[in-house]
């Protein structure tokens, strides 16, 4: 038993988190910043945080993740990080020549209280920032929220620093939330099919799923450009996908540039995608093309064909709020039973969103967010009453093996499989992929467990 010390008996915990279902803010900020074209994320703190964040992102995406650090030592911890950051800005522009440096803080520089905007201003006075280049920032203290919060803060920072008000254009902004590069690509494809002009930010496609060309590009071709980020302030409206990751930026756009926003769940699964497409149709005043309706039809076809295998199956999920909400809705639509749902990311709204997604159909569901909501607790629930399927990141593989329950790897980070970041899970096509994966897991399991006489050739 890999998790041999986990028992079904639940003892009250108030201080010890065991096997967290979240991580810290800066990694989300780093991921978001990589979605700006020619941007170098910069971690203001000790170099360990930056190393950890780069390693984890690299392990998940299997792509180079470039980011610099202020390399704090004891002196900076005592006297503040201003001189480190000034040096860093100077060095970065000399050596790596980015268009933008996107600074995020770590818990160290946050606790010290370094005033980043003031340091950026000093850097500008000292002419460390070449003309036409930018330094932006987001505060990302790790003792508040989670990696999702950090992502959200950096996306908001993009608006704060770049969005410019002006004469309204036809363009629609889409803030995709924390999804894979392939998902961002899929969102762009859907909009392209519908003939809608969009600005997507951040956009990590072609940054974290780069083609192998035999040439290393320090700044890959992908990412939202500065021009686009500026123009986002003149768009007709903003669609913010995923409340936890995208609302802050959308609100900021609204108050700064008067771009109205609509908030919806991540387009994972049938109905969330329907809502996304329908909203696009409505706000852009276009027809939904037949090609897209056909995609939807194929998804519907799969759902009806597969229904008998899904109905009634109990599922445990953990991960990030936005993804959990849409996934839960999708599972309930399939008549599956998402019975245990845990996120480490705190936020009370999560509970009501999940409740809405459950639609009163899974009264036995246990849902938890916030302190000590972790995978240890989730595992204990599973020990009390088993489930048929686990959906969550790589860290679930220990529960999966100990309890002999199939695991659908979903969310962040996935450290033990390769390829997930190349295929979307949003949109109709993404939903089809999820269905195929889930059914594959359930049926492999059925095959494995079947007595010889009932081992089915046709299923």
């Amino acid at each position: 038993m890999l998790l041999r010390h986990t028992t079904s008996e639940i003892k009250e915990r108030s201080a010890l988190t065991i096997n967290p279902a979240k991580t810290c803010q800066p990694i989300g900020a780093m991921y978001a910043a990589l979605g700006i074209h020619r941007c170098l994320p910069h971690s203001h703190g000790s170099q360990g945080c930056c190393a950890y964040h780069r390693s984890t992102l690299t392990r998940h995406y299997k792509e180079p993740v470039m980011a610099s650090t202020s390399s704090f030592t004891e002196g900076s911890a005592v006297f503040g990080g201003q001189s480190n950051l000034l040096q860093a800005i100077h060095n970065i522009f000399s050596i790596y020549e980015p268009d933008v440096i996107a600074i995020h803080t770590t818990c160290l520089s946050e606790t010290i209280g370094d005033d980043i905007p003031q340091i950026i201003a000093t850097a500008r006075d000292k002419k460390y920032i070449p003309d036409g280049r930018y330094v932006i920032h987001a505060n990302t203290p790790s003792y508040v929220g989670s990696h999702v919060t950090g992502f959200s803060n950096m996306v908001k920072g993009m608006v704060t620093y770049f969005a410019e008000p002006g004469t309204q254009t036809k363009t629609i902004n889409i803030i995709p939330g924390w999804v894979e590069p392939s998902d961002m690509r899929e969102i762009k494809r859907i909009c392209y099919m519908m003939g809608i002009e969009i600005i997507l930010f951040p956009d990590t496609s072609d940054v974290l799923d780069c083609p192998q060309t035999g040439r290393f590009e320090f700044y890959p071709k992908g990412g939202t450009t500065i021009e686009e980020l500026k123009a986002a302030g003149r768009s007709r409206m903003t669609l913010a996908l995923g409340r936890s990751a995208s609302v802050a930026a959308a609100r900021e756009l609204d108050s700064k540039c008067k771009v109205a926003c609509e908030v919806m769940e991540l387009p994972i699964g049938l109905r969330a995608t329907d809502q996304f497409v329908d909203t696009l149709r409505r706000v852009a005043r276009v027809e939904v093309p037949t090609l897209l309706e056909d995609e939807r039809g194929r998804l519907m076809d799969m759902m009806t064909d597969m229904h008998q295998y899904f109905a009634g199956r109990r599922v445990a999920l953990w991960g990030d709020p936005d993804q959990l909400v849409s996934l839960t809705e999708f599972l309930v639509d399939l008549d599956m039973r998402p019975v245990y749902i845990v996120t480490g990311t705190p936020g009370k709204k999560f509970l009501s969103r999940i409740e809405k997604a459950l639609r009163g159909k899974v009264p036995e569901a246990k849902v938890q967010e916030g302190p000590c909501s972790d995978m240890f607790l989730l595992h204990q629930w599973i020990k009390q009453e088993k489930v048929d399927l686990l959906i969550g990141n790589t860290y679930g593989k220990y529960i999966s093996r100990d309890e002999d329950i199939p695991l659908l790897r979903y969310g962040f980070p996935i450290l033990d499989r390769i390829g997930h970041s190349y295929f979307p899970s949003v949109g109709y096509v993404g939903a089809m992929r999820l269905l195929e994966k889930i059914l594959g897991l359930l049926m492999d399991r059925q095959d494995r467990d079947a007595p010889e006489e009932s081992f089915e050739l046709v299923m």
Partner: protein, 542 residues
Amino acid sequence: MAHLPDPSNVKKQLIQKYPTKVARKRSQQIVINAVAEDKTVPEILANVRTTPGIITQRGCTYAGCKGVVLGPTRDIVNITHGPIGCGFYSWLTRRNQTRPEGPEDHNFMTYCFSTDMQDDQIIFGGEKKLRQAIQEAYDLFHPKAIAVFATCPVGLIGDDIHAVCREMKEKLGINVFGFSCEGYKGVSQSAGHHIANNQLFKHVIGRDDTVDPHPFKINMLGEYNIGGDAFVIEDILERCGIKLVATFSGNSTVGKFENAHTADLNCVMCHRSINYVADMIEKKYGVPWIKVNFIGAQSTAKSLRKIAVYFDNPELTARVEKVIEEETKAVEAVRKEVKSRCEGKLAMLFVGGSRAHHYQDLFREIGMKTIAAGYEFAHRDDYEGRRVLPTIQVDADSRNIEELTVEPDPEKYRPRRTPEQLKALNEKGLEVKGYEGMMPQMDNQTLVIDDISQYETEKLLEIYKPAIFCAGIKEKFGVQKFGIPCLQLHSYDYGGPFAGFKGAINFYKTVDRMINTQLWSYIKAPWQVNGKPLLEAELVNS
């Protein structure tokens, strides 16, 4: 060997883009190797801060302490005191394998424990939460020991983790100890190793005096059982009839650490991460240490023979020779074959605080040349050898880290060898308490680069186009975008083990597979290679 560029020219190219101050510093950290008759080498600047803004391979003190040294011990509940991230990232990411003896035995390595500090603890202090977390860990798991690791903000707000540990030790009656390994202390992971070693020495080693009557007892220091390396070494030692008291810290338990001072010899693998423990055990208990290296078939044989010389027992020597002979046959068959395909190719290694040295032996065995190498977090002695120790200047960053004054233990000090015996061993060629360092073993005109940056890495790859580059996960995919395979030597790309004879075979095959695959040659599409557009006439004629 193909014609190689002039290294001084290469060095120029590596630093020419840097601002003056940075260039000045880097030029002292980039050295063209030149080994003198007496094995002295040029001086290198090491264990100094990384310049802010430079993209570095380095991690932090916490990573060295919790991640490297303490992480691999299975029966300690390691609680990270701080916000959630640090604990999360050091959760199971170092491939430290472990093998509890029975299903009932403690194994906490698959768990991640954190106090997940929130802003009110940052404002009002986190000691109360830490105390409560230790209590909860105790109530849930009843471990033999609980260790607490401080992260950056903890040091800053001034939580006294050691006082909390003392209090809880008293209250719970188990060993509870803390590590002030805040990430900002020191300039790299290395500071964390030092802090880890000090605390292990103070709180754990020496608590159990039970002496095993076995005549050949050793500890293996600085072996972390990545990918099962320690299992291979354990197996070899057992077949040789050598008793392993403790490994620091791969596949280890607290109980073994507590008993470690009863061994008769300490064998140091990763010099950087653990030479302090070897020195302290020697001073307090009288156990000498030697440098060993179980990476590479010849190095493994050499290390086994060193141990045999130390114990000076004909029976042991015979067993060691027999094991070497048996293993060498299998190794040679593979080695020869692989060598025929790898001979003369170039390798580069930029990893760890010993690995960039040890793995050169494996490359040498298959005829490959290490053209450039360096460490992520070494000190000068790891490059130049321990002979430079007296001349190393202690700077402010190192002075922050407690230096223990160790005296011989009034009861337990028992010198295993007299000074005369040690002298005799030295004369026999067994260098006790010695480490020659990486540079003396590298060719002249090769490049030695401390704390290499991303920029320098790119330049090196462009200039030399080596057959293989060895580094860590952060470097891997960037290197491969150049069309050059990158072997991760922290994690072995989830293969291995690479230690011992079996590991050498694995390594030869891994390198062969990586550099001799046809895959890299497909990167360009046919039309990109012969990119001339077809003329209409050609189409018509075909």
